[in-house]
Amino acid sequence: MEEVDVEPVVTKIPAVSDGKHMGFAWGPGDILVYETLHKASGCSFIHEVRKDEDIYSPILRKLFNESHHIFVGLQTIREDLPSKSRKPQFVSISKNYRSVIRACMEELQQVAVCSVLSQVSILLAIELIWNLCEVLFIDAAPAGSLLLHLLDWVRLHKADVDEKARDVLQSDSPAEHRDYWDVVMSYVLQGRLDEARQMLMKQATLQPAARNMYKVMDTLLSKMPFFNPSGTQTLTEFDVKWRHWHEEVDRCLQDNSFASNKHLEIICKLLLGDEDTLLEHKELLGTWYHFLVTRLLFCHPTVKPAELHYYAQSCMTMFLDSRSVPEPLDSILLAAFEFDIHQVIKDCSIALNNWWFVAHLTDLLDHCKLLQSHNLHFGSNLREFLLLEYAAGLFTHHSLWQLAVDYFDHCPEFGRVYLELQIERVPLDTERKALKVLRICEQRQMSEQVRSICKIMAMRALRNNRLGSALSWSIRAKDAAFATLISERFLQDYCTRGTFSDLDLIDNLGPAMLLSDRLTFLGKYREFHKLYEEKRFTEAAKLLLSLMTAKIAPRSFWMTLLTDALPLLEQKEEEDIEVTKVELLRLALARNLAMAIVKEGTVGT
């Protein structure tokens, strides 16, 4: 048995009193728990314990539906295209997923109830992780563009800078606002140097005496080189240029050009990537990964993907206090910087209570061919395992089960089995729902399930005396046995009442008549009656004869047939048809009648 990764979470069942025993039963997504004394059960309640509350949130439902749409689209991307043209597609799909997460987050934020806040923060974290995975794994940017993408990543997740800047700019005297320097520093830390320069100009106009100093700073800021991936400059050339610039900044610092202005000096030190100065601004940075990206920006902009984890580990250690325990999010991000995809997925699976994130991310990474085949104890691969878990959870939802069907479809090994087991358990309250479930089964050639569902619906119809419905269900399932059962009902009805019920059905059976012998007999027998009523006795007689000779009549009905034959026999023969047969019939009648009376004693049903 493997070691447990994390201590199991204890959930108290409030309604069960302390110290009592509990019995339980596992369900697909939940546990049923009841209070029990081992000998007699005195409780009257069964408690349902659910781990995943998210699928019942109305706003998060949009996440599940939209992402289902994206998932299905992803599965249809053709495998035979060269990887070069597929990568942009994967990146765009990844962006789609993220925009769906963001849309949900925005909606949740508008609701702004405290129960929802934890969901918002979880979604924030999810989007952060996904974005990083997109940058590192899917886009797989090489050195040079890697830093630019990481910068974008950090900027996207630190929105308070813009808010503060707006406040500052809208005030009467922005340069004297108490947050002014914070804003400038934050811009520098995020590499938004143009905006920093614009802000600094406001200060420069206020201090004409120090104009030269501000001019120098402005020049430094404007000359910082940024790598242009689509340009002609190679990475080495960029590196050289950057070092020149770095030396220039260093010279300015050594020259004490900014000695008289403490703020500008700090900015200069930041531009040099001085660790101590960076760490002094922990509140502006907020997180260790911001610290990491800023440090890389000002010390090592040509960082290679393989080198990331050295910096990440050291930055995290430096930034976090030695006492504080790294949160799950931190270790997940660290694992991502180490390019350990499996660790990322594993940690996310443990930290989140819903398989949505890991299932979709793993599926996307699998399509990018980034997951090695990973043998799990039960044989299927990681992607399939996660998708199955996710879909099985969806299936327990009264509405979202339809989405789960598509997920099962794209799990080649076990998806079908799971679907077969689950689809039979969908409650069928209305015919409309039964039709939809049937369509799902028929499209996948699940004939067992089709038969069983049709049988359930047909039995239900039969119990409610809806013989036409029952027949239409048995036709759908091509269930001859059931069609026979229905015909028996009709015939019984006729025998008891002397007339047919539901004539509209029997008169219009059409080719469905051939489904079962009994049904054919029913249809033909009714036809006989119609012919008789229309006084077409010859044809009626012929039909009756064929019914008797064809031996499709049930034995119990022979008496009735013979009784029907009696008036015909008394008819004058209008045509000389099959006189012999009729004679034989007369004979057989006499003998049969005698035998029947002797054998059964009484005549009657």
Partner: protein, 372 residues
């Protein structure tokens, strides 16, 4: 055709209907109602899409429906119709028929009237599957095979046709003011004349061959004898109820059940169908010639998008795009209205140039520039 976007609404939509507009004021459709199904708590909701007349640039954002109000509904909403500007009638899976009143001034919905167990079995509820109204008369049909006639504002039931059908009646529509047409799950169309006291249909029509269940029916707005139906096999059939026992035309439309078929109310050369297979098709006959055509008496091969058919048909004296045939001038075009395959499109409604549809993917699509 402009692209239409999905609005995700966290409920599977079973029915959607435009609120009727008054032609005198040249209104554009702006409010529609939806009903949900398969939820623990189902709802009916009213949505508004604002008005036309804004700059074309902002059209995409303006077109997004906004929820005005919603109300809890007991059971799945299996059908929904506007009785008049303020009231809707719903058919529920619990067998109840309810009239809801939409108070526009304060955006509230209240129950005006309810017939709780209108459709039922002796020991159980029977879902009410279809409702059609012509104010103040309401006609409903259900899985119990009953046809019931109500009057709004009147407590009891005006008339019941017990055991009208031995199978489930899926849909109902008015043929004339005193005649209705029902379709059932053994593939029959039945005409009922309310002027007659008997409880049997005045006419039964059905396809020869397989008895495929029929799910939806709609009557041509101008020609009352022309009716279109759709069924389990996704075939679109056009019938002439005056003559013959068989449909005039059969077209392979969808690969799964067709849930709704609608003639465009003011421009009946256009027909819309939606299906379980996730597609919504717009059928258009070109009626520029004097004998616009569409049809052949017989089966068509499957339709491709934007394909033009040259039907071979007999000569008909009546002028109708859907029935008459003049081979040389025949043209029928079909086009998909939804951007990509979705889960089942359960319902659609079209009014003027606006089309709304709802899907099992919990999305509503609104297209305000349907080319009709």
């Amino acid at each position: 055709m402009e692209s239409i976007n999905a609005k995700y609404v966290s409920q599977k939509i079973s029915k959607t209907r435009w609120r009727p507009i008054s032609h005198s004021f040249l209104q554009q459709p702006d409010i529609f109602a939806t009903g949900s199904w398969d939820n623990e708590h189902n709802k009916i909701s009213f949505w508004s899409i604002g008005s036309h007349g804004s700059s074309a640039m902002e059209d995409e954002f303006e077109g997004e429906p906004q929820l005005s109000c919603e109300q809890k509904h007991d059971g799945d909403v299996l059908d929904l119709q506007f009785l008049d500007q303020d009231r809707i009638v719903t058919a529920s899976s619990t067998g109840a028929v309810t009239i809801f009143h939409h108070h526009q001034n304060n955006q509230k919905i209240s129950i005006a009237q309810q017939w709780a167990r209108a459709h039922r079995y002796p020991c159980d509820n029977a879902p009410c599957t279809g409702v059609v109204c012509s104010s103040p008369e309401i006609v409903t049909v259900g899985e119990d095979g009953r046809i019931i006639v109500f009057r709004a504002d009147q407590e009891g039931v005006v008339r019941v046709i017990e055991n009208a059908d031995s199978s489930t009646i899926h849909a109902v529509t008015y043929l004339r003011t005193t005649e209705i047409l029902t379709v059932n799950s053994i593939g029959q169309l039945k005409l009922w004349d309310f002027r007659q006291q008997s409880n049997s249909p005045s006419q039964i029509l059905s396809l020869s061959g397989d008895r495929v269940p029929l799910h939806c029916v709609d009557r041509h707005p101008n020609q009352q004898h022309i009716v279109a139906t759709g069924g389990q096999d996704g075939m679109l059939c056009v019938w002439d109820v005056r003559q013959g026992n068989t449909p005039f035309s059969l077209m392979e439309a969808h690969s799964a059940e067709m849930w709704e078929v609608h003639f465009h109310p003011t421009n009946p050369d256009h027909l819309f169908t939606c299906s379980e297979d996730g597609s919504l098709l717009h059928w258009e006959t070109s009626s520029h010639s004097e004998m616009p055509s569409f049809l052949q008496g017989g089966r068509n091969s499957s339709m491709m998008s934007r394909s033009a058919m040259a039907p071979a048909g007999g000569n008909q004296s009546l002028i109708n795009a859907w029935l008459s045939g003049d081979s040389s001038k025949g043209r029928l075009e079909t086009s998909h209205m939804l951007p990509s395959q979705t889960l089942s499109v359960n319902s659609l409604d079209v009014l003027e140039q606006c089309l709304v549809c709802g899907t099992d993917g919990e999305a509503i699509f609104v297209n305000r520039q349907v080319p009709v």
